[in-house]
């Protein structure tokens, strides 16, 4: 059984290379970067061999625990597509134990497993300081690999079972909110810490917690031995082994349960009337806007984007905070960043419809109506959000004189970005998460083209808005009408580019709509 599944896994990996050249390129880049990162970690671990045992132990414990935790959290949050889902074997009548073993062993044939093996071997080098440390590190290497792989197997299965129905996938937004809350707490902690003074202490405390957690214990055991705490070392090795045993039991139980539970579909709740379709007068542009808005409200993929919008500016602030940039300066970050992302959000909107776009083709909808409908939701969400954010930012900055500049930059970036997105989503739609899939799942095929389009649309938006940004920059340092000039330029240029984008994008859509549909069929 083990041998058969290993061969199956190998075949699946091999087939990945038999697709289109672009996918192979993407795969090779993915493989290379994963192994590259692993090699950086390996180099770091070998380098730590020449540090003092206590300094090395802190780094290894915190980083090691984070790695293992990553194997738990990544599948939960991002929803990995499981090629070896136990449920796929339910019709073959394979005994549970041998299936569980075989599936776990076949997980060894994967990029993360190779990376973790390298890292596991490297930490032997770090702790080759006395016999017990060496022995514990050698035992630790396979334990680390097994713990990581079992963690991800269990986590993938739990995520798969919990998110199997469409309805629960739609509420994955809740998970996003939980992540948001967690992020806010961490952000506040980072904000409150004076990194230049207490950085080392924070690391030590975190390492202490990590070393007692089941995720960090296996990394801590050889570190303790190297520092001469032999009893402690054995205790932590025990914790690690017990955790591994429990993981195995959990995995076995999950396989057993999953073999007899098939995903079931849920009866959805009922809506009354036409919802948002009652708002506006009937014209193709208006109904497409109402349909788009309905999707923004109902579709988890749009929820995910909306949650990310307010988080990104704060995420960007973290490094500035750590190097000690003053708060008033930081207050200028959110408005432009949010505006940029809001405008960028719909740059691949056509692909979000997937093949449902056929309706627009079959009904002879004009490209202009299609484009207009798609930019309405970001405007409805974005304009009030940016107004509010600009007022708050100006208040924190300490001068409302800057408010017109903030508004000019915000609205200018939003409108210009939407104009550009209108062209981009008609000309360069690339594979997106399909409707009904987990919003965090990676689309089935990602080429390098997509990341090029993503970064290009950012850069071009900024270039097109450069006059507005320049005026806003001048308003920060010079007296004069610069803030108001920035507002004027932002509105005029923004509206102009939005209009141009809709016209041009509409014409592209009229010409290329069959190709857009063909692209979505391949997705």
């Amino acid at each position: 059984m083990v041998e058969q599944l290993l061969r199956l896994k190998l075949r699946l990996l091999g087939n990945a290379f038999r697709r289109s050249p672009w996918r192979i390129v993407a795969l090779v880049i993915g493989l290379g970067s994963a192994l590259g990162m692993a090699l950086v970690v390996v180099a770091g671990l070998i380098g730590l061999r020449f540090e003092s045992a206590s300094a090395a132990s802190r780094g290894v414990e915190v980083f090691g625990a984070l790695l293992v935790l990553g194997f738990v959290l990544v599948p939960l949050v991002f929803g990995v597509d499981d090629v070896l889902d136990p449920r796929r074997f339910s019709l073959y009548g394979i005994p549970t134990s041998s299936l569980a073993t075989a599936l776990a062993v076949s997980a060894l044939l994967s990029i993360p497993a190779v990376a973790m093996t390298l890292i596991g071997l490297a930490q032997i080098v770090t702790w080759a300081r006395n016999p017990l440390a060496l022995v514990l590190a050698i035992i630790g290497a396979p334990v680390i690999v097994a713990t990581c792989l079992l963690c991800s197997r269990v986590s993938i299965s739990v995520a798969g079972a919990a998110l199997s129905s469409r309805r629960s996938r739609d509420s994955a937004g809740l998970l996003g909110f939980a992540a948001l809350a967690g992020f806010v707490i961490v952000f506040v902690l980072i904000y409150r810490t004076n990194w230049l003074q207490d950085g080392a202490n924070v690391l030590a405390t975190t390492a202490n917690v990590a070393s007692w957690s089941p995720f960090g214990a296996v990394w801590a055991a050889p570190a303790d031995a190297a520092q001469g705490h032999f009893g402690l070392a054995l205790l932590r090795e025990l914790i690690a082994l017990v955790f591994l045993g429990l993981l195995w039991l959990a995995w076995r139980t999950l396989v057993k349960v999953m073999l007899v539970t098939q995903p079931r579909s849920s009866e959805g709740r009922s809506y009354r009337g036409l919802g948002l379709f009652r708002i506006a007068r009937v014209s193709p542009g208006a109904v497409i806007a109402e349909r788009s808005l309905t999707y923004w409200i109902r579709d988890a993929r749009y929820h995910a984007s909306l949650i990310v919008i307010p988080v990104i500016p704060f995420l960007l602030m973290v490094p500035f905070l750590i190097i000690g940039v003053p708060t008033p300066v930081l207050a200028l970050i959110p408005v432009p960043v949010m505006a940029l992302f809001l405008g960028w959000l719909v740059h691949n909107d056509t692909a979000y419809d997937n093949t449902a776009i056929w309706l627009h083709l079959a009904s002879g909808t004009t490209g202009r109506a299609d484009r207009v409908g798609r930019v309405v939701p970001p405007l409805v969400v974005g304009v009030p959000l940016l107004l509010l954010a600009a007022i708050l930012s100006a208040a924190v900055y300490g001068s409302f004189g800057i408010l017109p500049a903030l508004l000019g930059v915000g609205l200018g970036l939003l409108f210009t970005g939407l104009g550009l997105s209108s062209v981009g989503s008609a000309r360069f739609p690339y594979p997106a998460v399909r409707p009904g899939d987990s919003p965090f799942a990676a689309p089935q095929s990602v080429g390098t083209a997509s990341s090029l389009i993503q970064s290009l649309s950012f850069v071009v938006t900024i270039i097109l808005s450069s006059p507005t940004l320049l005026f806003a920059g001048l308003a920060l340092f010079l007296p004069g009408p610069w803030a108001w000039l920035s507002l004027l330029s932002g509105l005029v240029l923004g509206v102009l580019f939005l209009w141009l984008g809709i016209q041009w994008g509409g014409r592209i859509f009229d010409r290329r709509s069959p190709e857009i549909l063909s692209a979505s069929v391949r997705n």
Binding site: R166, S265, S266, E267, G268, R269, S270, Y271, R272, G273, L274, G275, F277, V282, P284, V287, I288, R291, T294, Y295, R298, D299, D353, N354, T355, A356, W358, L359, H360, L361, A362, S363, G364, T365, T366, P435, G436, P514, E515, L517, S518, V521
Partner: protein, 346 residues
């Protein structure tokens, strides 16, 4: 719209509609022999009500679109001045409402459609049959403007789909196979969306939605998300969305797949009365029985080419459609070497 001098005035359309509602056999007989029975039916006051009671489209809906007022069959059928009861079969409508000329589509090295010519006359119920992968869906996608052909052209009511798509698509109702719907909308919202994109006003969409829901039997499901529908329900709502704007031609790709027999019978009846009223239906399927039962014309497509087409009788040549199809498509492969299946492993 058209005002050709050789066309007789208004009564012709209702006449055809009225007769169409009657059993086919009696049609020719009553045609001229018993004119007295037909006179009231021909009066203009009657025409909007009499034949349409079985159809899903509401009266108001019909009269709002001006094009439905033009006769769908321009053939002169001046029964009044025909002297003798000649008992001719119902004259075939001559207008070609859909024509495919030399359609070709390649995907890389494979030729999916290798030059298809087809003319569909108005008022016909046209079946397209073929094995899996024969190019049925590819052909219909090119007809409906969803897939750009490599060569050839498609005319819908004389308008080229790929040159004047807006005008051509207005005349078509489309049910594609295996494409998604906007399934985060409720059933009612999806019908509203499809109708308004087709340029119907809100009131019309509302009445037609309730009519269609009644005819297809999904009144209870109008408030649920289409994503939560079963496969058959999804097919039915898509069908309803395809005909909400009362098009001249319905292009339906596998309309009966995963639809239960009762609903299928309902749908068939709806389509029949639509055809009897002068509409044209093109359906693809690999269910030969079904096509033989409901269609009056058929085309057999194998390997991207039409092997035979025409009226059902001319294609069948006295056999069942299935036998004739197997004969055309290259015969059945004999099943050998499967004897192990007859001795169970346990």
């Amino acid at each position: 719209m058209d005002s050709s001098p050789d066309q007789a005035p208004a009564p012709r359309t209702p006449a055809k509609r009225t007769t169409a509602a009657k059993p086919a056999a009696s049609r020719a007989a009553t045609d001229a022999a018993t004119p007295a029975r037909k006179v009231p039916a021909r009066s203009t006051t009657d025409r909007s009500t009499a034949p349409r009671s079985t159809a899903p489209r509401s009266t108001t809906a019909r009269t709002q679109t001006p094009r439905t007022q033009t006769p769908r069959t321009p053939t002169a059928r001046s029964t009044s001045d025909r002297p003798a009861p000649t008992r001719t079969p119902r004259p075939k409508p001559v207008e070609t409402v859909l024509s495919l000329e030399g359609l070709v589509k390649r995907f890389g090295d494979t030729i999916a459609v290798a030059g298809i010519d087809l003319a569909v006359e108005s008022g016909s119920f046209y079946g397209i049959v073929g094995p899996n992968g024969a190019g049925k869906t590819t052909t219909l996608s090119m007809v409906t403007g969803l897939l750009r052909p490599d060569a050839g052209r498609v005319l819908v009511h004389g308008v080229d789909v790929w040159h004047d798509p807006v005008a051509a698509k207005r005349n078509m109702g489309v049910l594609p196979d295996r494409l998604r719907l906007f399934d985060r909308l409720t059933g009612a919202q999806l019908l509203f969306y499809s109708g308004t994109l087709r340029g119907l006003n809100e009131e019309t969409v509302r009445t037609r939605t309730s009519d269609l829901a009644g005819a297809f039997g999904f009144e209870d499901a109008l408030g649920r998300l289409v994503a939560d529908y079963s496969a058959g329900m999804t097919k039915k709502i898509a069908l309803a969305a395809a005909m909400i704007h009362s098009p001249r031609v319905l292009i339906l790709d596998e309309p009966f797949e995963s639809v239960d027999p009762v609903s299928a019978a309902n749908v068939t009846q709806i389509l029949r009365s639509y055809v009897d009223a002068g509409g044209t239906v093109v359906v693809s399927s690999h269910s030969m029985d079904l096509i033989q039962r409901i269609c009056d014309h058929v085309a057999v497509v194998v390997h991207g080419a039409i092997l035979d087409s025409g009226t059902m009788a001319s294609v069948r040549k006295g056999k069942t459609l299935e036998d004739r199809f197997v004969e055309l498509a290259g015969g059945r492969t004999s099943v050998e070497g499967m004897s192990w299946l007859n001795s169970f492993s346990d």
